[in-house]
Symmetry: C5
Subunit: 280 residues, 5 copies
Amino acid sequence: MRDLRLMDPSFPGQYPAVLSRKNAILVSASNIRAVITASEVYLGNPSHKEAIAIAEAVRQQLMTSNMPFEHIALECCLSQICASQSAQLQVLRPYLRQVLHGLKAAGGSLQKRLDQLLPLKNQLDEMHTTLTAVARCLNDVLTNNADMAQMYLTDAQRHKKRKDSDHEDVELIFENYLMQVELISSDIKDDQNEITNTEEIVDIELDVIRNRILQVELLLSISAFMVALGALWTGIFGMNLKSHLEEHPHMFWVVTGAIFAWIFTSIATTRWFCKRAGLL
Amino acid sequence: MRDLRLMDPSFPGQYPAVLSRKNAILVSASNIRAVITASEVYLGNPSHKEAIAIAEAVRQQLMTSNMPFEHIALECCLSQICASQSAQLQVLRPYLRQVLHGLKAAGGSLQKRLDQLLPLKNQLDEMHTTLTAVARCLNDVLTNNADMAQMYLTDAQRHKKRKDSDHEDVELIFENYLMQVELISSDIKDDQNEITNTEEIVDIELDVIRNRILQVELLLSISAFMVALGALWTGIFGMNLKSHLEEHPHMFWVVTGAIFAWIFTSIATTRWFCKRAGLL
Amino acid sequence: MRDLRLMDPSFPGQYPAVLSRKNAILVSASNIRAVITASEVYLGNPSHKEAIAIAEAVRQQLMTSNMPFEHIALECCLSQICASQSAQLQVLRPYLRQVLHGLKAAGGSLQKRLDQLLPLKNQLDEMHTTLTAVARCLNDVLTNNADMAQMYLTDAQRHKKRKDSDHEDVELIFENYLMQVELISSDIKDDQNEITNTEEIVDIELDVIRNRILQVELLLSISAFMVALGALWTGIFGMNLKSHLEEHPHMFWVVTGAIFAWIFTSIATTRWFCKRAGLL
Amino acid sequence: MRDLRLMDPSFPGQYPAVLSRKNAILVSASNIRAVITASEVYLGNPSHKEAIAIAEAVRQQLMTSNMPFEHIALECCLSQICASQSAQLQVLRPYLRQVLHGLKAAGGSLQKRLDQLLPLKNQLDEMHTTLTAVARCLNDVLTNNADMAQMYLTDAQRHKKRKDSDHEDVELIFENYLMQVELISSDIKDDQNEITNTEEIVDIELDVIRNRILQVELLLSISAFMVALGALWTGIFGMNLKSHLEEHPHMFWVVTGAIFAWIFTSIATTRWFCKRAGLL
Amino acid sequence: MRDLRLMDPSFPGQYPAVLSRKNAILVSASNIRAVITASEVYLGNPSHKEAIAIAEAVRQQLMTSNMPFEHIALECCLSQICASQSAQLQVLRPYLRQVLHGLKAAGGSLQKRLDQLLPLKNQLDEMHTTLTAVARCLNDVLTNNADMAQMYLTDAQRHKKRKDSDHEDVELIFENYLMQVELISSDIKDDQNEITNTEEIVDIELDVIRNRILQVELLLSISAFMVALGALWTGIFGMNLKSHLEEHPHMFWVVTGAIFAWIFTSIATTRWFCKRAGLL
């Protein structure tokens, strides 16, 4: 049967699926793969801890619930899918918060934080894709009357007639887990929005810091230029050429004073011009 | 009952839900959780101020309105959801305007403004997610005839027969609050657009300022380079080596004049070249 | 009546609405608010120039058209909504073209242009939101047979029976104005795309100019460094220490020549290296 | 008739429309405007070369095809719309390829390329908007049984009864041109994606080049600073003050050697530190 | 027949199509073009290796399967489409991983990596467009009862009556390959998300590195400025002017000490100010 290929655990990168077939329900998402019949549930990779959790849950539910076997198994599978995705998110979140907080602090470890952020973003994207696909599968089955009716495997086995539109129990199960999937999905969306917002703000903040560094650099360049002009004059008077001022008694102090006066007034003037032009 | 888990106030991060069940209507959004029956309304966290507001509103409406109890309670819950989201937005908006205005002014407090903007953006995103989910819930119920018909709990209790398609009163309530939710949602969208637009403009403005700083820096670098070349000549003539010009009577002034002439003409020429190349 | 709150002109930030009620049609968008009955039209803010335009249009149409009163009034309202949005866009467009052209010219007034662009972008976003909402309202009514049938208020008043599916006249009105709304909406979308495209190009252009400024700066830095090395040698020979070369007759010219030869060859070599590395 | 306004060629910026009316089919897109009746086709701007092409095509098809006149005319109009959009794209594409290739080459003409890219992007956006609207119109008619049935104008004129669902011929025409419109639309989307991808890569490449320029600048700054420290020492020994070392026979060479040793070791050390910090 | 144009292999840039016609099924996607009748399958470019693979698969399936010929052929075509797209992705992926890993490593070969990334992005976009179109085609046919019923060509040939709704076999084929197409499509989406995430992080990382380079540059500028001020003093005392300090026995050491003290304290003070201002 073509659909059974879906159950092969060695086939990686599965697209999630919930299929209603003649004598079986097939559930597949991330690590969980199950074929549910009226009396048994075959799990894809039985030694996996999620398969064990499903088996355990089915055993417990069988004692306390009076739903048909296939509905108990279906609910346990869907519940395990939600639980495992939700658990994964709970593990990611505090780490994500910490990384984002580190980004906002904008300290020296910014680059390390960014290196940590990349796999987090990839993982959230993947989880979102998976959950969207699961939600779509659940919705596809939920809106298909024939598929919903086929879900009553026990009744079908006992040749009990049912109306196609009478499937409120399964509908409630599907609606419930669809809502849970959408809750987790919307939590992930919130986290992704927070990452995007933080990145945007950090991006502008880096630009703001850069502009302020450049402004201080500009101020230094202006000052350095004026000092260089002063140094040019000292160089000129340092030349071993005859200026006929060599023996003037006060010329040393006159020139020194003139150089410093020039430096201070020119720096102040240029700074005022730059401020007026909105550069400083 | 599975749906009651939705009502648990200790369960955080709830996905909004409006569900129509056999003998009850369940309403859940942000802090509001209510189970409405034909004669009573159970509130999730009764000491919360929003629960108290609902209870008060139901009491007042009961005296003046002749709608069945469940519709009064439903309307009060939906009204409270809209009112609380709207109030939250009214608090945010003046603060947001102030932060955005501060961003556009581009003064020295830009970084502080950005730090204030981040939580605002996150909060608007969350509110938008919540309202989208509420709108979706309302729409889901509104387009489901069976769900709408089930909303007449009092009539159901009295075993009064109703046609499935006869539910104009509830439809009006839902349509009305759906429109209100969409109004708030569209207001938030407007605010988000304004933030995005401001960020984009601020981003380009920072780039423009940076380019202008760099242009002034370039002008300074050109000038400084020419001054350095002049200083090189003063250094050369300052060497304690014999140039045989030491005793020349006017050479000091010749060299000094040549240096300044060189500096001015070379700066002017290079500036003209850079202007033509579109750099200054 | 709950819907009448929509008509209150003191209630700002209205979400557009076109509602079909028992004995009235309600139209609300931006500044226009109207309640249309079989024989009268109540306008939200009657002294507003748009309300006056509607009243005038209804009066004129009544003389020439043989449609029922409510359809004439409805058409006048919808026509006024389209006309006022379209007029607003016609006012914005030449100004927008001018601002965008100024941005592309990339002259010194770039920052002023950006300050002008921000309110334009916000306004276009708001108009787009409004028109999308109007289109959605029109579509909602258009696809709802019951709502469309209720639009024949005059016939309803005269207790004239009509089939629910027989409402081609109103359908034509709605289809016509839906198309007009979509036309304006698509014009705004075009303008927004043009703004986005211009911003993206200006952003890259600023980057390109910056890189070219930095390249010239780099060339200057390299040259300045080489001159500084030359100046170091002049400084060394300027030290008041004994080099035993002081009296050498040609040493002055040897050193001067060596310094300039060094400066030119080293600048040429480094420039060649940078060119090969793709930096210049 | 209200719809005829659509046909007015003096009305610019038309929203595309394909409308099925009582005795006519109206087709309008970009420069093509046609009213098709059972025996005639009225073209909006008959002297336009596209109108002439349609007239010519109708004439040719009439001889070879046995479809009713209105379907031949309709097919010719739709075919001409697709052909003209497709031709426009074929003209744009080689030019676009050339501009994008020039962008990737990142030579000196980058700014010129960007100036060329802007109108191309605007034009592709406009074409995409037009085609999306055409596709939507075709789809609207295609999914409306009543509209499709009305398309048999000749049969309607001859009062030949037809079932509403029997319109396979027109359906095939519409499906065929819908597919063609989507093909062109998807080609434009591909081009837009390519532009976006190229812009993103060019943006990062400009950043990479800038960082490398800054790294070389940093290396130069470090070296220049060390040389400046060396020059400071030469300046100190050049002061006309008594250091009591003036007559020392080897001091000149000791100081010169020390200065160069200092410059080389300090540049090497600082460079090593910057490399370790990931800056060079 | 109009649809046969679709099969022309010389017609490039085909939009994917799966069409159900009277006596044939038409399948077209990327290089595969097939017309399937009740007993034969015509392949568009029969010498192409994908056409050969389909022919081979049909031959093998005919021996083992008891489905009607047209369903075997259809399944082989769809299977080949999925297989060829999937194979293309499997070839791209390790190369993409390597390029992205190279980008994150941020070494000197960044620019080369970016040049490699551009064609990869374009190719993934094209594949995604193709697969979306294929999925849409499959879905269009799947949701059209008449089209599905027409797929039983053998039964139609034998004039065997079938109910329109009885087509579970073809439905299973379509559902199965729709799921496979969506799986590949979602894998591509994952890869695109990963590229986008990496680009965003690399973009911010380049900004972070740039800011750190500028910070070190700023520190150097400050230090260089202070050294320049010191050098100005040495220049002043190097002037051939009378300062009356020339013969002072300790003045040389006093001035030298003062200069170095000034340099160290001023650098330390300015650095502390910049640190407090968040610039270093």
